[in-house]
């Protein structure tokens, strides 16, 4: 039984991050996309907390808390935009949202 080192955390976080990226890139539903972004953010949080533990100070944890707050704000703003968008287009499929172009 080996100790759980920073590397373990990083591997889990990387896995989590890749799951999130895949979700963002592949899912059509914006709600799922937003949830996948949460995964990415939490992967980062995990990294930060892991590094905080490695260095033995609280800087990383403080960043993690900021990111949690930021995630909440981002979820609120994202869902708000989503609802406004749904009212106009009656869809939440991200491949049908293609206005952001020239």
């Amino acid at each position: 039984m080996t100790d759980i080192t920073t590397l373990h955390y990083l591997v889990v976080a990387a896995a989590l991050f890749i799951l999130g990226v895949i979700g963002v890139l592949t899912r059509r539903n914006v709600v799922i996309v937003l949830m996948s972004i949460e995964l990415i953010l939490n992967a980062v949080n995990l990294n930060l907390v892991a590094f905080s533990r490695m260095w033995g100070n609280l800087h990383g944890q403080m960043f993690a808390i900021f990111i949690v707050v930021d995630a909440a704000a981002e979820a609120a703003a994202g869902l708000g935009i989503l609802i406004a968008f749904f009212r106009n287009k009656e869809t939440v499929n991200v491949d049908e949202i293609d206005l952001l172009k020239w």
């Binding site: 890139l25 592949t26 996309v33 491949d95 206005l99 952001l100 172009k101």
Partner: protein
């Protein structure tokens, strides 16, 4: 003062009748129409009689005018409306609903209401079988209202209101049978010709008020006689001439007389009331009313006298050969009006007014008599188809015979006194400067006697020339028509006796009564031209033996004319010959066609004549100048416009394609084309962006790891 204070009621009685006819006439029975309309005029007549009686007590023979101002409808005491007089001072405009009664308006008031009343009664018989009965009487009452307003007005503006009112009623009544084209045309002609005169009248009245500072007759007379203006003042001359233009229109003088003969299209009582007795004398009234101004304008007076004399002889000459019984009388009216203006023009205002007064009776009588003849003849108006009516309609015959004697100037009848007075005044005034006009006058008297004799003898003597059916229908008119005839015949005899001249042992009460109105010329003349003092001594001249000589001559002329007519026409058969046509055919053609005046007017004014496609006369000049304006002036304007437009089009093209196209849009298009590949990078799908981002980061990561 009961009646004098309520003088404004006199015009209001017939106005009430007219209003009743206007609102309820269609639903009323003929008897009700008679009661309202004839009643209104009878009341107005009685009221007028009492008013004049009260006035004579009020004035005590001084002729002091009675003025009653009900209210001032234009301007007021607060001088809201004022204007600058020619001397720079301010004067107020005062146009009142005000009434002026003086000897002059008293005379008009009495004979207008009196003759008007008789003609209303006559009309109940004459119009009994006509359609539009209530309309006819409504118009007649409206006419009475306007005429009474005209003669009772105390200022030029209210007089003008009445003046236009009678013109309107004249129009309505001439066109009474409006379904007949000739009647509506005649109505238009009357209205339009009168309008020319009206323009002169209103300009004259405004000039006077500008120059003398008031519309009111009393103020104008006072100002004119104040001595501030000298005899022959140019502005006053112009004003007087303009007023006379108005009189020419209304009173049918040369050159505006043409409407009156055509006005005979109206029903005969209308011809009698409006176009013989009352309305056409409005011009005489207006000139007499403005006598103070005319006295200061000797050239205007001369014009009046000459126009009057020429009209008299001109119209009489046409009357010699006309065959329509009413047209003869119409030309006779024009001619007699000429006499009146001749009198006014030579300064014998009272004589002119006297002739108006007597003429009103005998001419109304003759017209009503002719109406009675037409009635008997089942509508026939051509004297060639009459004859031998003497025994069949005796009352009409005898009354018309009296009328003929009166107008021909046979002693003892009304026309003699007034006509002789005019001729004598023409002979004697201005030291004899007008004697040529006297010759014209006496020649007219001869013609008058002849054509009146012709009318009577052709109608009542000789052989019956009508068709058998018409002859069978001949009948005397009902009492409602013969009654007024008899009354007017009596007046035609006795009205003249009011003015029995001094030379025949009378006192000339008529002129005495009028003297205060017209005596005004003496002081001016005394102040200005002492040499004219002789004019003030006419009283002494009256016993001039010359007057008896001239009187005898005019009697002789009258009798000669009648005898000649008797000789020619009294045994006229179906193939009778006009003496003028026999002796001088060209002259006959000229007279029969009324000197071709209407045709001349067609050439000069009305624009009915064309030469090829070109219209002649004033209208032609108008058309030519219209063509010039449309083609040349407007053409040039349009050409300039076209050039401007072409230049603008070119400039627009330059701006649109060269400036905007090459200069402004060109670089933009270039930028757009060049930017096209860049734009392809942005296709809008967020996940693709994210994918690119991920692979990009991976790429960077791999690159830096391997390096």
């Amino acid at each position: 003062m009961l009646f004098l204070d309520h003088i404004y009621l006199i015009p209001l009685f017939p106005a009430f009748g007219a209003a009743m006819m206007f609102f309820f006439g269609r639903r009323l029975q003929k008897a009700t129409v008679n009661a309202v309309c004839v009643g209104a005029v009878v009341i107005a007549f009685l009221f007028a009689c009492f008013t004049v009686v009260e006035y004579t007590h009020y004035a005590h023979g001084t002729g002091q005018p009675f003025q009653k101002i009900v209210y001032t409808w234009l301007g007021s005491g607060d001088s809201q409306f004022s204007f600058v007089k020619k001397d720079g001072t301010m004067a107020q405009i005062n146009a009142d609903a005000g009434f002026l009664l003086d000897p002059l308006s008293s005379i008009w008031l009495l004979f207008v209401t009196g003759v008007g009343m008789l003609i209303h009664i006559y009309s109940t018989g004459y119009m009994a079988h006509e359609g539009g009965y209530y309309r006819f009487f409504g118009y007649l009452n409206l006419f009475m209202f306007s005429m009474l307003t005209l003669i009772l007005a105390n200022n030029y503006m209210l007089l003008f209101v009445g003046w236009e009112g009678v013109g309107l009623c004249s129009y309505l009544l001439i066109g009474f049978y409006f379904h007949r084209k000739s009647a509506s045309t005649a109505a238009n002609k009357a209205f339009i010709v009168n309008r020319i005169g009206d323009a002169g009248f209103i300009l004259g009245a405004l000039t006077l008020s500008w120059y003398l500072g008031s519309f009111r007759f009393i103020d104008i007379n006072a100002a004119a006689l104040s001595g501030a203006f000298h005899r022959g003042d140019p502005v006053l001359t112009v004003a007087a001439l303009l007023l006379f233009v108005g009189a020419c229109g209304k009173s049918a003088q040369l050159p505006l007389y043409v409407w009156l003969p055509d006005a005979m299209e109206g029903p005969t009582p209308v011809s009698a009331l409006i176009h013989a007795a009352t309305m056409v004398t409005a011009g005489v009234y207006m000139v007499a009313r403005s006598n103070a101004v005319f006295v200061l304008a000797p050239n205007a007076m001369k014009t009046v006298a000459i126009v009057g004399a020429l009209t008299a002889v001109f119209a009489a000459s046409i009357g010699l050969v006309q065959n329509d019984i009413k047209r003869v009388l119409a030309y006779s009216t024009v001619s007699q009006l000429g006499y009146m203006f001749l009198a006014l023009g030579v300064g014998a205002f009272a004589a002119g007014v006297f002739h108006v007064f007597t003429h009103a009776f005998f001419k109304a009588l003759l017209f009503l008599g002719s109406g009675s003849v037409i009635h008997a003849m089942s509508g026939e108006q051509d004297m060639r188809n009459m004859g031998d009516l003497r025994k069949r309609i005796p009352i009409t015959f005898w009354t018309m015979f009296i009328g003929m004697l009166a107008i021909a100037g046979i002693p003892g009848f009304a026309g003699f006194f007034s006509k002789d007075e005019i001729l004598w005044q023409t002979w004697s005034s201005e030291g004899g400067a007008y004697r040529i006009l006297w010759f014209i006058g006496i020649a007219t008297a001869l013609m008058t006697a002849f054509y009146m004799g012709r009318l009577i003898f052709l109608t009542f003597f000789g052989q019956a020339r009508m068709s058998h059916e018409t002859e069978h229908h001949v009948h005397e008119s009902p009492k409602s028509m013969t009654g007024p005839l008899v009354a007017l015949a009596i007046c035609s005899v006795f009205a003249g006796w009011l003015g029995l001249p001094h030379s025949l042992g009378g006192t000339n009460r008529f002129e005495k009564f009028l003297e205060p109105v017209f005596a005004t010329e003496a002081p001016v003349m005394r102040a200005e031209e002492p040499a004219q003092l002789a004019a003030g001594q006419k009283e002494e001249e009256r016993t001039d033996p010359m007057e008896y000589g001239l009187m005898a001559l005019s009697i002789l002329v009258g009798i000669a004319g009648l005898m000649w007519a008797h000789h020619v026409y009294s045994r006229a058969g179906k193939d009778y010959v006009e003496p003028i046509a026999a002796k001088a055919p060209p002259l006959y053609t000229l007279l029969y066609n009324k000197w071709f005046v209407d045709e001349g007017y067609d050439y000069i004014f009305t624009g009915r004549r064309k030469l090829g496609k070109v219209r002649l006369g004033v209208m032609g000049a108008g058309e030519a100048s219209s063509w010039f304006d449309a083609k040349i002036i407007d053409g040039a304007v349009n050409d300039v416009g076209w050039v401007t437009r072409a230049v603008a089009t070119l400039s627009t093209w330059w701006d649109k394609w060269i400036i905007d196209g090459v200069g402004v849009n060109g670089p933009a298009i270039l930028a757009r084309m060049l930017s096209y590949p860049m734009r392809l990078l942005e296709w809008g799908l967020v996940q693709w962006y994210a994918l690119v981002m991920v692979f990009g980061l991976l790429g960077f990561g791999v690159y830096y790891m391997w390096k």
